[in-house]
């Protein structure tokens, strides 16, 4: 006996004209877990509105940058990344997500996990690199922190966010930290013992001069 409305798929289709990829499973305890992929991430706001009307609670937002699906056999572009990358030998088809966002390892998948009376509904939006997604904070107050965290961990732009400040990371750290490799020595501000000492020394000199 699901607590999601029976006609949920129909109602989702109505508010997401570009299309919905819907699936759901029911576990042994009768708890429904449903997934709804959006063909067009622009439909997120209207879908959010529908879930808000259904009394849903936003439980979590997950942003991921799914790695590109493994290529079948050849693996030759290890070295040739620099110049020839743009137009490699034969134009290989980049796999695409539902809705046509290229799955090349740089696009984002943003999962909005909702709870409706105990059942779970996850709405999935696919956003290409450099793309943006509308904020759900005006609808669900608690989207605020999730979206701020998403903006500092990834280079995703959340539009219409009422308060797009940093959440956990300091202003001095560039955003998209999960998209970059930051060597541990850089992270802890000491590329080598000598480097740290030199910085302390030059700071001290500067102070002495002033």
């Amino acid at each position: 006996m699901s607590r999601l409305p029976e006609d949920l798929k129909v109602r989702l289709d109505a508010v997401a004209p570009a299309g919905i990829e819907f699936s759901s499973t029911v576990d042994a305890n009768g708890v429904t877990v449903a997934w709804a992929g959006l063909a067009n991430h622009g439909d997120l706001k209207s879908v959010g509105q529908l879930i808000h009307e259904l009394g849903g609670r936003l439980a979590m937002i997950t942003c991921t940058q799914p790695s590109a699906p493994e290529e079948e056999e050849e693996d030759e572009d290890e070295e040739a990344e620099e110049g020839a990358e743009a137009k490699a030998a034969e134009p290989k088809e980049t796999p695409k997500s539902f809705g046509g966002t290229p799955l090349d390892g740089t696009s984002y998948e943003i999962d909005y996990h909702f709870d409706i009376g105990g059942d779970a509904l996850t709405v999935i939006a696919y956003v290409p690199q450099g793309g943006s997604i509308a904020s759900l904070t005006p609808l669900f107050r608690n989207a605020d922190w999730h979206e701020r965290e998403m903006m500092e961990l990834y280079a995703v732009v959340v539009t219409e966010h009422p308060d797009p400040r940093r959440l956990f990371l300091d202003q001095s750290v560039d955003n998209a930290v999960l998209e970059r490799l930051i060597p541990f020595s850089t992270l802890v501000n000491a590329a080598s013992t000598k480097g740290l000492w030199e910085r302390v020394l030059s700071n001290a000199n500067k102070k002495g001069a002033a």
Binding site: M60, T64, P66, H113, A120, W145, H146, F168, D170
Partner: protein, 366 residues
């Protein structure tokens, strides 16, 4: 007071260290005279990037890592993570294993709730009773240490079941310890209901209305004390909770006192659940005694930690490492609720209100 008798407005910093808790959080609080008018929260002091780290560890190493996110709900993290992995791999936990999961979970809940309610008494200045309550909590901590060998990170969970077992002797020992704790908790509830200094400092203080509780999306005792009747153990049963006599406690006042009372009543329910579990404990294996590869897939899993719903999202690929692990703890939303609770509160009540959400920062910031 200024000359025309209107209280002056100040902005005072509270934290990052010592606001009723041992973890750092920084509040910028605007006050007019003695009254709070606006709260701004500055988080991030213990952001450690554990989400990134999980993608560098194997699934089985992550059971150990997730236990170290937080100490008070250290059992809920690996349990929820394991539940997500079990869903993806289609692993069925043996009956004895799911009962033992409840035993570990509820013992931790008793210890956690008693810790929070004891701290509240400490913040009201009733030091002797604080020490008494910590002594009661110590009975539970002793039990946990004797059974699991550790006081906080108990290492009870694994993918496919649990890593510990109980025999006749240890079951009798837990039951005898519960018999010692239960009358004390009844006494504590009586004191909470009658003691003037506790009542004066907590009744009608830090109110979170039902509407605000819905808007902020809070969970756990904070939500239940504001009339949001939601408990993952009942709404989305896991482990053995579907066949246990679970009672969900609530209140409607939404003040500091109600949140503490919900926690104390839940402590008694936890003791009941433990007794039933230990009575009905089925025989057989405690885990699947295997470490199968977790196939590619995605899943979400939810648990009721002492502070409320913990949600895990897990996405796996062909490698032993997960592609993405993301989790959200109850305190993540509860901070926003603190801003509502503090509206119009007195400066002296700030610490009491912060403590009343049972904050957990290392969980929130990861």
């Amino acid at each position: 007071m200024s000359s025309n008798n209107v209280p002056e407005t100040f902005s005072i910093p509270v934290g990052p260290l010592h606001v009723a808790l041992e973890e750092p959080m920084y509040f910028k609080i605007d006050v007019q005279g003695e009254t709070v008018t606006h709260v701004d929260i500055n988080a991030g002091h213990v952001h450690r990037g554990i989400e990134y780290l999980t993608t560098k560890r194997t699934m089985y190493q992550n059971v150990v890592l997730t236990e170290r996110i937080c100490s008070l709900c250290s059992n809920s993290h690996p349990q929820t993570f394991a539940m997500a992995a079990e869903q993806i791999a289609g692993i069925e936990v043996p009956e004895r294993g799911i009962y033992l999961r409840v035993v570990a979970d509820e013992l931790k809940r008793v210890a956690s709730h008693l810790f929070n309610t004891a701290l509240l008494v400490h913040l009201t200045g009733y030091e002797t009773y604080f020490m008494h309550m910590m002594q009661v909590r110590e009975i539970c901590q002793d039990t946990i240490e004797s059974i699991f060998g550790n006081r906080q990170d108990i290492g009870a969970m694994c993918i496919g079941g649990v890593r510990y077992d109980l025999d006749e002797k240890s079951i009798a020992y837990i039951l005898s310890q519960l018999d010692r704790i239960e009358p004390e908790v009844h006494d504590i509830i009586k004191t909470y209901k009658s003691n003037g200094s506790i009542l004066r400092r907590t009744k009608g203080v830090g109110v979170l209305t039902h509407a605000d509780a819905i808007a902020t999306g809070v969970v756990g005792p904070v939500a239940r004390a504001s009339g949001v009747d939601y408990d993952v153990r009942r709404e989305a049963p896991y482990a053995a909770y579907d066949r246990l006599p679970l009672v969900v406690h609530g209140a409607t006042d939404g003040d500091v006192w109600s949140r503490a009372m919900v926690r104390l009543q839940e402590t008694l329910t936890s003791i009941d659940l433990l007794r039933v579990c230990l009575r009905d404990l089925p025989g057989g294996a405690v885990n699947i005694n295997d470490r199968p590869d977790i196939p590619p897939g995605q899943a979400i899993a939810r648990c009721e930690a002492p502070r409320g719903e913990v949600l895990y999202y897990l996405r796996t690929n062909d490698t032993p490492q997960p592609e993405r692990v993301k989790w959200r703890v109850p305190t993540f939303m509860n901070w926003d609720a603190v801003c509502f609770m503090m509206q119009g509160a007195k400066v002296a009540d700030i610490a009491i209100i912060v403590n009343s959400i049972d904050p957990c920062l290392s969980c929130t910031e990861r």
